[in-house]
Symmetry: C2
Subunit: 368 residues, 2 copies
């Protein structure tokens, strides 16, 4: 695997050189992880001017849970205990006779930027922009394999919950139980805080679980995901509690299901991100739910749970093959609740069967 | 409570005006929460030039789980869906004829700073520095009451774990069980990722729980904390598994205990932070463990789990009364394991009985 990381760093170094920068300083943790395979707290990566060097905040020995970092990562590891690793990196870049250093202006704070300038005043600080994020967009098959396992784990955790008694339990306890099951099945942890919404809370995006208990007749919406080797997936489902859904519940569910299916079916290489959003959004819009909709109906996933591309009305750009995204429209009626259906899929060409669904739990309206 | 927040904002506004700035833009989430009582994801707070305004990323209606945000917080709430709330705030400040805006350069990214300048080119962007962090240092009695409850919850969760069978269980499962118990006892969640280290992993700071199982003869070190209404505490203890600790275990435990006690006893209003660190560190240093020690032996807690003051050799400043801090020296012997003992205490004058210990679980070496 370490060849993969070396190849990613080589690509970044080439892009950087093409833009006239001798070196790049990577501070965003997910980007450091993408380029090295690990990211101890506070670590930053200096790519060029000579070797790649990982600067760690806390561990001068560069030792990790799994052993010596430099041997694992095949990069030089230098500790900067007590100081800012980014400042130590700029110092080294300047002493290595780099005249310019590209930094991640979308992540680096103004304060750290000033500190870099102050330690190396002759070094020109350029903007790397989202160069690493762009490299991260299209996943290789090993990354997709991690996402596939993450999705399997989430499906298992959700499936087990559905077999248990739900009435009378609180949102918080259901969320905790799901997170425990994720870890039981091999997740490194939840991919994001698990959301469980009952009754009037159902259908809300990122609802924070409360002490409300599940009641007969409720909608129950659940959104969870596993983190497997750093890769994060997402699944959201809505169920009805009791034997017979009310007619408004069936209508609303069918509507959101139709919107979500339209979004999924629009996922093809070359499709504009805004068109995928429009496919899902217009179904809800024409039923009169346009105003209450979230700003996006989906987003990329990978080393972060919410990364590019965004599926939103103002999004630029087109989808490529091997880009994993969520499709997650929802409607929430204040005071009544609502429905949200969320899958993680990988964009694939039609010749390969179209989008690959990673989260396979049924999307029928189950009455539990 | 909303009067408390208004008073905090008024103090900030005065300080800001004294520094010649008509308005301040607060972007760091814990600071926004300190000044308003809430912090929806992405929200930023504009203090001055006229009213205080909270700009939210996602919710144009300013609605929260508990109802309308503006009514709860007594600040104007404006949604900036799709855009950067900080940019919307700068736009408003400029149109309100502010000529300067103080920003948190230690939190704001270079990219956002450029975006603010671009939307309001006539607005001078000054540095607010850690003004809000300084206001947050000394806690009022309501804040300390939240920390006291957080500590009680952590003590309860830890106490229950000690009554259960430990041998054969993995670090990850013990950590998850502790987190579930925190929530069972009323925490909003863990204050930070719970750390459980067994055998050779014991005594490590922030060890990430692995699949290693507890064995007879192991040291077991546990570090956990509860988040109660946003306030976060920390407790760390080390136990020995089995009936009779080995003599090296007893010696090491006694040494770390002596260091931790020395640190606790040094906590008095007016004491230099570096002297508190030295009190604990010198005990371990003179026993030959100096080189392997962490950069600090304690830190402030509050709305963040690691905030000022730092108890470290290079720390500046002195302790005040009503400042809650951790005292957490530890020694880890590579390949063998080690000991870490961690308490949360509030600095109090000697006349009031000296430091108030919030985490009261016993620090005897228990054989479990």
């Amino acid at each position: 695997m370490s060849d993969v990381y070396a190849a990613r760093r080589a690509l970044l170094r080439d892009r950087c050189a093409a833009a006239g920068n001798a070196a790049a300083l990577i501070t965003r943790p997910a980007n450091v992880r993408y380029l090295t395979g690990a990211c101890p707290p506070g670590a930053v990566l200096l790519v060029g001017p000579a070797e790649e060097v990982l600067f760690c905040a806390g561990a001068p020995t560069g030792e990790n849970d799994e052993g010596r970092l430099d041997e694992q990562l095949r990069v030089t590891v230098i500790g900067a205990p007590g100081g800012d690793p980014a400042v130590a990196a700029a110092d080294l870049a300047a002493s290595g006779r780099a005249d310019s250093l590209a930094v991640e202006e979308h992540h680096l704070t103004v304060g750290r930027h000033r500190a870099l300038h102050s330690v190396a005043p002759k070094l020109r600080l350029a903007d790397l922009g989202p160069a690493v994020e762009q490299q991260r967009l299209v996943k290789d098959e090993e990354e997709i394999a991690c996402l596939r396992i993450a999705a399997e784990i989430a499906d298992q955790a959700l499936g087990e919950l559905l077999e248990s008694i739900l009435v009378g339990r609180t949102e918080r306890h259901l969320a905790l139980e799901l997170e425990r099951r994720l870890v039981d099945h091999g997740a490194d942890g939840p991919a994001f805080p698990t959301s469980v919404g009952t009754g009037p809370h159902s259908g809300r995006s990122r609802h924070r679980p409360s002490d409300r208990r599940v009641e007969e007749g409720d909608f129950l919406s659940v959104c969870l995901g596993a983190n497997y080797r750093g890769y994060r997936c997402e699944i959201g489902r809505t169920f009805v509690i009791g034997t017979t859904p009310a007619s408004w519940q069936i209508e609303l569910y069918d509507l959101v299901f139709a919107a979500q299916r339209a979004g999924r079916e629009a996922l093809l290489p070359g499709a504009a991100c805004r068109d995928v959003d429009h496919a899902a959004r217009s179904v809800l819009d024409s039923a009169g739910h346009g105003e209450a909709l979230a700003a996006s109906t989906g987003h990329g996933v990978g080393l972060e749970i919410d990364e590019d591309p965004q599926l939103a009305p103002t999004a630029m750009g087109k989808l490529d093959a091997c880009v994993p995204v969520t499709v997650e429209p929802g409607v929430h009626l204040p005071g009544r609740g609502g429905v949200r259906i969320d899958d993680t899929l990988v964009v694939r060409p039609e010749a390969d069967g179209g989008p690959e669904l990673l989260t396979i739990t049924t999307k029928e309206l189950l009455a539990l």
